[in-house]
């Protein structure tokens, strides 16, 4: 169109926005995103970040995290100031509660208007004061067809001993909890500490079956045929299946997690307006399309969906049927008490050892003591000898 600015071959952005106002000011944006969650130019994709830099003259320092919790910890620990972050739903809520996010000035993000209404106004941020949806999706079960007897259809298959050592599991507390909770037919948002304990017990029981607790390593492992079953995000499953046709994806019958990842600006952001420009850029249809094609997640922007190629557009995995969505449940922000119970229980679970080698501590303490006594004795002896 006339009022479009052609940035690269693939990307044009709306011309009625002042993209150049920070040019030459040496502005740098620190963008903190999930791994593999933007079209970054690898594998012949479009490099949307450098296009943004060319367009605006703003430098982007792009780094990645691999779970909401580590994002939270990194920001919470202080000091670090990011300009744009991409937390998921419940984490957005938690961060809002703790005053970690800055309210958005939508006049700087006109493209937000293109976002479908069904993706706005979720409980974690009802007015979308702090967050602009970036991608949405569901979780599901990825499996290697050559390694399973019959296609799994339930989370419970991940507890099946015939897959011992061939199961991968989420390496973050909420997602892992969700799997176990759904298996038990419970809500994936625990309401009480007892509930947490109950579900974590289930995870402990699963431990002997699990080969590894991983996050993005799952790509490599599933594509390489290292494991038979793994729960992961639907969008990523599409990527994996593309790379290894042996893989398949299923929405377990107990129901899955529905999530929205949102673009947010932390409260201690140093350059909010530039950050909002980045948000606006991310909501550009061309950019959204590039991202969507690269990462395979589901877009909340209508214009992007329309332009997807059919394979993705009508993908059962990316845009599941209503039946699946009906059974899907979203995360909510937990109360502080339940949250900390979950964290503790999670690390308990991780450190839990069936063999149980608690007595080893005793052995080690005794050993350490023996060594130090031996040392003192040695020194005394040496001293005596020297005096002699």
């Amino acid at each position: 169109a006339e009022d479009q600015i052609q940035v690269t071959e693939d990307i044009s952005v709306s011309g009625d926005y002042d993209w150049k106002r920070f040019e030459g000011q040496g502005v740098t944006l620190n963008v903190y995103n999930w791994g593999l969650y933007i079209s970054d130019g690898s594998e012949e994709s479009v490099d949307v970040i450098s296009a943004f830099e060319n367009l605006t003259g703003i430098k982007v320092n792009y780094t990645t995290f691999d779970s909401n919790e580590s994002l939270y910890a990194k920001i919470k620990s202080g000091g670090v100031s990011y300009d744009v972050i991409v937390p998921s739903d419940y984490m957005v809520g938690k961060m809002i509660e703790e005053g970690m996010l800055a309210p958005l000035d939508y006049s700087n993000i006109p493209n937000a208007a293109g976002i479908g209404a069904e993706y706005l106004g979720w409980p974690f941020d009802e007015e979308n004061t702090y967050s602009v949806p970036y991608m949405w999706g569901t979780t599901g079960l990825i499996y290697n067809t050559t390694m399973v007897q019959e296609a799994p259809d339930s989370w419970a298959d991940m507890w099946d001993v015939q897959y011992t050592g061939n199961v991968l599991m989420f390496n973050n507390s909420r997602d892992a909890y969700a799997v176990a909770a759904k298996k038990l037919g419970m809500s994936l948002n625990p309401a009480s500490v007892e509930e947490v304990d109950r579900v974590i017990e289930e995870l402990k029981a699963q431990k002997s079956v699990v080969q590894a607790y991983v996050m993005d390593e799952i790509f490599d492992k599933m594509e390489g045929g290292e494991a038979a079953l793994a729960p992961y995000y639907a969008g990523d499953a599409i990527t994996m299946i593309q790379d290894n046709p042996d893989l398949a994806f299923v929405f377990p019958k107990e129901g899955v997690n529905f999530f929205v990842d949102s673009l947010c600006i932390p409260a201690n952001c140093k350059n909010k307006e530039a950050a909002e420009m980045f948000l606006n850029y991310m909501c550009e249809p061309d950019v959204g399309l590039a991202n969507c094609e690269f990462i395979g997640y589901s877009t909340p922007i209508g214009k992007v969906w329309e332009r997807l190629d059919d394979e993705l557009k009508y993908s059962e995995i990316a845009y599941p049927s209503q039946e699946v969505l009906d059974k899907a449940e979203a995360f909510t922000t937990l109360s502080a008490q339940v949250n900390s119970a979950l964290d503790t229980a999670w690390s308990d679970m991780k450190s839990y050892d069936e063999g149980g080698s608690g007595w080893m501590v005793l052995v080690f303490l005794i050993l350490a003591l023996a060594i130090s006594v031996f040392n003192i004795w040695r020194r005394v002896r040496k001293k005596l000898r020297n005096e002699y």
């Binding site: 593999l36 970054d40 202080g78």
Partner: protein
């Protein structure tokens, strides 16, 4: 005869150990030329991964940052550490022991504790300074990274240089005085050159540790990414053979640096020997 068997056994053992140490590196190198992304099946030869590596901005900028941090921190640590060594040597035995023991802390402490404790300090400093607006905006980042690297480098300088200083013949210093140097001149003209090899090797050690450090940087890098951190984030994603290409290049660079410096060394040695012979001939 028995000796020969024993020697064969020794050789075999050493060769096996070296195989163990080099096997993984070999694997990395071989698969950097693999056409497909598979890390285990070799499907064909390609140099594509090297090409794409050199267009990977993340890696290149992380590399630049790592080099810069390593260089600056090594220089600062070497200068401060050498000064410290000289100063400490002038102290009494008790204070020497005390300072040395504290200096040992970053060496014997697990890296994670050094990293974490520095992070806590920086957080504390920042919270405290934010009240007065005394610290620069981007305090967490380059400044903290540099401070952390200098901190864990300093002990290596001290423990490398101080034995040299102690072993050094104090008469050399006196000889310089005797020949007309003031104490300051004597230090720079006679003592410092003597310490140079130790200082240099300390500097190299600092560089190495600095470039290789992951854990301490990980806790103190703020929004920045050093090369190890970039590599870490790469290993946690869908791994691309670029990483193999990167390791192969790093290995070759290091290997060639070592070989060149070795060759230079032995050439200098030979030249000196040759000169010596010529001198005797006359």
């Amino acid at each position: 005869m028995k000796n020969r068997h024993l020697r064969l056994l020794q050789r075999t053992y050493v060769v096996l150990i070296f195989c163990f140490m080099y096997l993984p590196i070999l694997v990395l190198a071989v698969f950097s030329f693999n056409e497909s992304k598979s890390r285990t099946v070799f499907t064909g030869f390609t140099l594509d991964w090297y090409k794409s590596l050199f267009t990977n901005r993340m890696i290149l900028s992380a590399l630049a940052l790592s080099l810069a941090v390593a260089l600056v921190s090594a220089v600062v640590a070497t200068v401060v550490g050498t000064m410290a060594t000289v100063g400490i040597s002038a102290m009494g035995r008790k204070s020497q022991l005390f300072i040395n023991n504290i200096s040992y802390m970053p060496v014997v402490n697990p890296e994670i504790i050094t990293g974490v404790s520095l992070m806590l300090l920086f957080v504390f400093l920042q919270n405290w300074a934010s009240k007065f607006d005394a610290l620069p905006d981007a305090f967490f980042g380059l400044p903290t990274l540099l401070i952390a690297h200098i901190t864990f480098n300093l002990p290596y300088v001290i423990f490398n240089v101080s034995p040299k200083l102690r072993q050094m013949d104090s008469r050399i210093y006196e000889a310089a005085l005797d020949l007309g140097c003031t104490p300051r001149q004597a230090f720079f003209k006679a003592v410092l050159p003597e310490l140079t090899p130790a200082i240099l090797s300390a500097f190299l050690i600092c560089l190495t540790y600095s470039i290789d450090d992951f854990i301490i940087s990980y806790f103190n890098c703020g929004t920045l990414q050093t090369l190890p951190i970039a590599i870490y984030s790469m290993t946690r994603k869908k791994v691309s053979p670029e990483i193999n290409a990167l390791s192969t290049i790093m290995f070759l660079v290091i290997l060639s640096i070592i070989l060149i410096s070795n060759a230079l060394d032995s050439r200098r040695y030979k030249r000196e020997q040759g000169l010596g012979k010529a001198g005797e001939g006359r």
